[in-house]
């Protein structure tokens, strides 16, 4: 099996779809000559030309909206919003338009558009270039929401997103672009709505997304050394959510930790915790732990930034807290 970086995996999904399908094109700020602010689309201008690798002016709202309009006319555009924080500028189009057009038209319209964006702490970009806003879009009926954590997943899920007939908000994590992993020779679509069990375990289930999947796997290894067996599950798609897999895992382990980089309060973990406490109430031996960013904007100074966002030791501490409780 070939090895790709997360960055290359994203690019491979885009390029392969564009090779096989004239309707697929990409648009965004500085995605052409420069290959995007994270180098994801690097080299694509040369292969596909400026009609299909389309630099846009700084107009997040209109570029999102133009992608929607093209999608309504049968294209499959993939729009890049350079930083997740700028999704706020495209929010009207994503939330009031893309998500609702099919519904408001009573099923007449189809809007097969993907909004790719990225974010994450770790490089001290400060409060306006690092926040994680995936929870917002999970709250909006009509959208699908994907957040992949490995090269294999990001490629297979982006592929599925491009060919999904619904608007998909597709989150990437900045610090993952460099990680490498094996991927199937040929792109295999990964169904939207299927969680991935990264590691089986008996004592506690950690449900994690994005960067925190990796932090959780690290924490799980550490916990193992301390005699605690940890199952790590990545929902991968936040909407639809594979409640079945998550709940089944917790029914097996009787304990749960939810981990993401976004602020804990009103973060995606709140939804997961609510679902689990409801569906696995009689199985739970301890309160569900939530691990996420502390309640602050992201500060600049690295020492403060690292304090705000969670790491493997935070996940480990949560694991230990939850197994420290007596079951009943």
């Amino acid at each position: 099996m070939p090895e790709l970086s997360y960055r290359e995996a994203v690019r491979d999904a885009l390029a392969t779809a564009m090779r096989q399908d004239d309707g697929v094109f990409i648009l965004g700020e500085d995605i052409a000559e420069m290959g995007g602010s994270m180098g994801v689309t690097s080299g694509m201008l040369e292969e596909f030309g400026s009609e299909r690798v389309r630099n846009t002016p700084i107009s997040e709202m209109a570029l999102a909206g133009a992608a929607i309009g093209a999608a309504m006319q049968g294209m499959r555009p993939v729009a890049e919003i350079m930083y997740e924080d700028f999704m706020t500028l495209a929010a009207e189009q994503v939330v009031n338009q893309a998500a609702k057009l099919r519904y408001m038209s009573g099923g007449q319209l189809t809007v097969p558009v993907v909004f790719r964006t990225q974010g994450g702490a770790g490089w001290s970009p400060g409060a306006q270039h690092a926040q994680q806003l995936e929870a917002w879009f999970v709250h909006i009926p009509g959208l699908k929401v994907v957040f992949a954590s490995t090269p294999e997943d990001v490629r297979g899920l982006l592929w599925s997103s491009i060919y999904d007939d619904n608007p998909v908000v597709f989150f990437e994590h900045r610090t993952l672009y460099g990680i490498k992993g094996e991927v199937p020779e040929k792109i295999e679509p990964i169904p939207i709505g299927k969680a991935r069990v990264h590691r089986e375990g008996e004592d506690v289930t950690v449900i994690a997304t994005g960067r925190l999947v990796h932090e959780s796997l690290k924490a799980a290894e550490e916990a193992e050394k301390q005699g605690v067996s940890v199952e790590v599950v990545d929902p991968r798609t936040l909407q639809p959510l594979d409640e079945e897999t998550l709940v089944a895992s917790v029914k097996k382990t009787n304990r749960a930790v939810v981990a993401h980089e976004a602020v804990t309060r009103m973060g995606f973990g709140a939804e997961v915790a609510s679902v689990i406490q409801y569906q696995a109430f009689d199985w739970l031996d301890a309160p569900i732990e939530r691990v996420g960013a502390k309640f602050a904007p992201l500060p600049f100074a690295p020492v403060m930034e690292q304090f705000i966002v969670p790491h493997s030791d935070d996940v480990l501490a949560a694991i230990m807290r939850t197994v420290g409780r007596n079951g009943d």
């Binding site: 094109f25 009609e51 299909r52 846009t56 002016p57 107009s59 709202m61 209109a62 570029l63 999102a64 909206g65 133009a66 992608a67 929607i68 309009g69 093209a70 999608a71 309504m72 006319q73 049968g74 294209m75 555009p77 009207e92 189009q93 009031n96 338009q97 057009l101 099919r102 519904y103 408001m104 038209s105 009573g106 099923g107 007449q108 319209l109 189809t110 097969p112 009926p141 009509g142 699908k144 007939d165 619904n166």
Partner: protein
Amino acid sequence: MAKVETKTSLAKGDLRDVLREMLLIRRFEEKVEERFRAGELPGFLHVAIGQEACAVGVCRALEDGDIIASTHRAHGHTLAKGTHPNELMAELYGKAEGCSHGYGGSMHLYDVERGNMGANAVIGGGLPHVTGAALAFKMRGEPRVALAFFGDGATNIGTFHEALNLAQLWKVPAVFVLEDNHWAESTPESQHSPIRDLSDRAKAFGMKALKADGQDVEAVYKTTRQALDYARSGKGPVFVHLDCVRLHGHYIGDPQVYRDKDEARKLAETRDPITLLREKLAVSDEEFDELDAEVTEIVEASVDFAKNGTDPAPEDALKNIYA
């Protein structure tokens, strides 16, 4: 597709048909006001009484395959783009037979088969869609044009600026039709815009701008034709500024406390587009009454149709969320 042959002005026979269509829209909207006041219609409704020449003049100029995006003030555009009054009225009654099958309502009218990509209740919300649709046409080499309606108030929102800028930058076949009725809800133009000629908005993008009297349906038709030809030929988008009037309130039920009562009365006397066309065509009272009776019957029938329509089942609300 071959390039469609261009008609640059309306023939006399066409004009009689145009009058009939404008009158149909007028009677339809008057009926909507009446039924709303009778408590039969849910939702927020906005009539475009006084702006019929814009809707009809513009939509007549379109070719098959061209598409429109409309606004919250959408009944006229929807009828002019070919949706049957029955389907429109049924939508306003929230029936499954409605043009949005009861999911949309007055501010969300769609008829995709007929090229109506929808009303939009968010000011400016549909403008980037038109840029994007036109881009799709251009990328596929189709000789189609995407056309957006919007109001004077909409020229203040960022979406307007971004969408038109992008359209011009990409030289897509789009036409942006400003229906300038000089009011944004309760706010007169002098209070919402710092410039007195909204055609100047196009200068920020270097976009070709045309202007017409929006009360004169022939002028609207001709100007739109010109704009469509230009856009279709690949030269880029066009901004069309139609100077028009809003004879009634912003929404049905609006007491218009903010507006001089005389203003609307005077406008109704001097600038009613139906009266103007009727005079121009020298339609006799008898002829007019005949036309009127004919369209009134259609409107009445649409109310019957709507009232006899099917209420969606409550659980239908869980359909059509995802494809």
